[in-house]
Amino acid sequence: MTKTVLIADDEPNILISLEFLMKREGYRVLLAHDGQEACDLIMTERPDLLLLDVMMPKKTGFDVCHEVRAHVDFKNTPILLLTAKGRDTDVAKGLAMGANAYMIKPFSTKELVQKVREMLGAAA
């Protein structure tokens, strides 16, 4: 069954590349441009993996993480935070909020794709 990946980022330029890469991997892709849109899509579309930027309007990636983990249906949904915030305290906070992995921008797309594969594989 086709897996669904939600990509949330307020930068349209990264969405273009990430959407292409995820579709090429054979996943169904959902795009959100802010935290609130991401939350709404998660509740309605129930994606299998979340790629979240941290600094987004309306709700931050941390907030989305927190909300998702509070919901019983999404306790095990893999979350990968993608962010330009590179301090160790930000990483610690992201992981504490329930993210499974954290990649600091700029990142290698190959590593990203590999990570997504592993996370979806583990979740399956």
């Binding site: 330029n13 590349s17 927190h66 330009a84 915030k85 305290t89 921008k105 290698s108």
Partner: protein, 724 residues
């Protein structure tokens, strides 16, 4: 002529009477033994010669009188005179030798007394020399300190534990002038001055917190504890303050007590703004460049795919062009922002984690119906924190938890995380309230706790520490918590205590005994006049009827602190009355319309004057008039001058009730005070202050020592019945 001595006369009279009685009794006895014949012979023999008998009686009495007189002078008058002369020597500064007189014993006594007087004089001279020497040394120390203080590029303010300023340098005065919101030349004088409260500039709680920190470290035996904090002043300036304790001399094994503190101040507003700008630019540059690089990297990676649609290819090239252009623009922005190299960070101080937890518990427990306990606190952890804002944050969270989540018990936990300390505020969630629903947003709301508002948010506090903050839940037990990630400091108390000999580093100029002011601890009414702080002021006005439109055109004041007139801490300001100045009043006060034109109006001047008079007793000559001038402005300015008021006119009437005039001129003449600039507000205020200082000891002679007694006495005088 020698003085008639009653004692001699009485003595002579008594002896005379005794002689007469003896003669009468002896004659009576002889008479009773004689027969009729014998009695006739005796009557014939004595009867005619009774005059001779009485004459001899008188002569004998005269001889007795002379002898008595000599004896009294010799044995009684000489010692009495000696006693009087000794009393003069005892009660005055007269230096002379007493002349010996009277009996041998009295002469010896006079000699001994003379020797004692000589000994006393020698001791006095020696004492005077020593006092002069000590005063000279003190003066030298003062000069040394003054020179040192004036050369310091930092502002230094020394306060006692009540926050009263005891010493400040010129730099501090200049800095306070910049902080002042008062208009013109008076700026700053309302904030800094001997005896003034430093809390006019600093938040009392902030200073108290820093003091408490230092006290804790002193108790722990730290040799040189200090605390630093940054605060915003009412005028919006940012001050960095470093606080060090002033300690009393150590007695025996007792730890030295703190008697006051030294504040070293830096105005860092400009540096901080520059730093904040620099931080913001660097932050934006880093994060936005990372994002842009990520966009470019991803686009490049995708472009390498050979089977790319032409449309996609074009979109990715466009992404690359946009991101390259964006990076270029940002670099140009950074270059033009001319960021200087000043490095300024919010000061973090080293603090034992257990101390911070204890302080947090104390603070949280001041909130009603809320208790807090320490649980799993690693007492070996040293943190690098700005404890004041951090404690504010914890207290704010605790209060919100109580109000919005019905939590009554909190736990504080401190442990080691991944290279950082984890400070947790934990609680068991209440069944009634779903904590997770209300908490989001707390991090970015302005903190409010214990009725205090602050513009700071948790996020700001976390930012200051370069830390992180989040809300979490433990998988076991259901405990929920707020976690602060905080930077660690190297343990250092050992360094502070070891190898430093206590008091060795005390500079000599600490010998000033500046810390004995006790008036503040008593109620004002019971405070001694000689210990109180006074603002002596005078106003010049357009006329004598403030209630019907006459306005203040000049207001001036000087301060008296601990019985000293502080001439350099004066307040002197013209006021634009926004009305004409009647021509007939100009010769009295010498103020022409040109002099007040363009000067600040009363609504600008009175707030500064109000602050200048803070925590002092107001003194004026004929104070009822000046107070009326201030009172009619209460509605316009919203400022109430509710300080106690003393009137030199009334006090003069208390001290000299028989004098006809109690006008300022008459009193200054009586006290021989020369007034320069009479009828200028400052001249009159100075004269009134001089008069007041001379009245204090005269009041004391009448048994009037305290403010309450002086006010009561003044109220009773005739002049107190006058009303404006």
């Amino acid at each position: 002529m020698r003085r008639f001595d009653k004692r001699v006369a009485i003595g002579v009279a008594i002896i005379g009477v005794i002689c007469l009685l003896w003669l009468g009794a002896t004659g009576g006895l002889i008479w009773s033994t004689l027969d009729e014949n014998g009695r006739t012979i005796l009557k014939d023999t004595v009867g005619e010669r009774i005059v001779l008998l009485l004459g001899m009686w008188g002569v004998s009495l005269f001889a007795v009188g002379s002898a008595l007189r000599w004896l009294v002078a010799y044995f009684m008058t000489a010692p009495a005179r000696l006693a009087e002369e000794a009393q003069v020597l005892l009660g005055t500064d007269v230096k002379r030798q007493l002349v010996p007189s009277g009996s041998i014993e009295n002469r010896r006594l006079t000699d001994l007394f003379n020797q004692l007087v000589q000994q006393r004089e020698a001791l006095r001279n020696e004492m005077d020399e020593r006092v002069a020497e000590a005063a000279h040394n003190t003066e030298q120390e003062k000069n040394r300190l003054a020179a040192l203080m004036s050369e310091l590029t930092k502002s230094v303010v020394v306060c006692n534990l009540d926050g009263r300023i005891l010493l400040y340098n010129n730099r501090a005065r200049m800095q306070f002038r910049k902080l002042s919101q008062a208009p013109g030349a008076i700026g700053g004088t309302e904030l800094i001055g001997l005896g003034r409260s430093v809390y006019g500039v600093f938040d009392r709680k902030l200073v108290a917190h820093a003091l408490e920190n230092i006290q804790h470290r002193l108790q722990r035996g730290a040799a040189a504890p200090s605390a630093q904090f940054i605060t915003t002043t009412p005028s919006g300036q940012l001050l960095r303050a470093q606080m060090a304790p002033v300690r009393s001399p150590q007695e025996g094994n007792e730890p030295a007590k703190m008697t006051g503190f030294v504040l070293m101040l830096d105005n860092i507003t400009r540096e901080f703004e520059a730093q904040a700008r620099q931080d913001s630019i660097l932050h934006t540059l880093t994060e936005r460049s990372r994002a842009a690089l990520a966009n470019m990297q991803a686009a490049l990676d995708v472009l390498e795919y050979p089977d790319l649609e032409p449309d996609m290819h074009e979109r990715l090239l466009k992404v690359l062009r946009e991101e390259t252009e964006g990076l270029g623009t940002r670099l140009r922005e950074i270059k033009s922002s001319a960021v200087d190299g000043t490095v300024l960070r919010w000061p973090l101080e080293d603090m034992l984690g257990a101390d911070l937890v204890a302080a947090a518990i104390r603070r949280i427990e001041t909130i009603d119906n809320l208790s807090a306990v320490a649980n799993q606190v690693d007492d070996s952890l040293w943190l690098k924190v700005e404890s004041f804002s951090l404690l504010q944050a914890l207290s704010y969270l605790a209060e919100r938890l109580k109000q919005e989540c019905v939590i009554t018990t909190l736990q504080l936990r401190l442990g080691m995380g991944d290279g950082r300390a984890q400070l947790d505020l934990c609680w068991q969630p209440s069944a009634d309230k779903a904590t997770t629903e209300v908490i989001p947003g707390w991090e970015t709301d302005p903190m409010r706790s214990g009725g205090e508002d602050t513009s700071l948010t948790i996020q700001d506090v976390v930012e200051r520490h370069g830390g992180a903050f989040w809300f979490g839940r433990e998988s076991e037990g259901g405990t929920v918590f707020f976690r602060f990630l905080l930077p660690l400091a190297a343990p250092q108390e050992h360094l502070e205590t070891a190898s430093v000999v206590r008091n060795e580093s005390r500079p000599e100029y600490y010998d000033f005994d500046l810390f004995q002011s006790s008036a503040q601890t008593r109620s004002l009414e019971d405070s001694k006049l000689s210990e109180l702080s006074f603002t002596v002021f005078d106003t010049e006005t357009t006329g004598l009827d403030p209630a019907n439109g006459d306005e203040i055109i000049q207001i001036a004041a000087v301060r008296i602190v601990n019985g000293k007139l502080l001439r350099h801490e004066s307040f002197d300001q013209f006021v634009d009355p926004k009305r004409n100045i009647p021509a007939h009043t100009i010769p009295i006060h010498g103020i022409t319309p040109d002099m007040v034109k363009g000067q600040p109006t009363i609504d600008k001047v009175l707030p500064a004057f109000h602050q200048f008079t803070q925590d002092t007793v107001l003194v004026a000559h004929n104070a009822a008039f000046d107070m009326r001038c201030l009172q009619v402005k209460e509605k316009v300015t919203g400022l109430v001058f509710d300080n106690p008021v003393m009137d030199t006119l009334l006090l003069s009437a208390v001290v000299h009730p028989n004098q006809e005039s109690h006008r300022l001129e008459a009193i200054t003449e009586r006290f021989n005070i020369n007034i320069l600039g009479r009828h200028t507000a400052l001249g009159d205020a100075m004269a009134t202050a001089e008069v007041f200082l001379r009245l204090i000891p005269l009041l004391a002679e009448k048994g009037i020592f305290t403010l309450g007694q002086a006010r009561e006495a003044a109220q009773k005088t005739y002049y107190a019945r006058l009303k404006y």
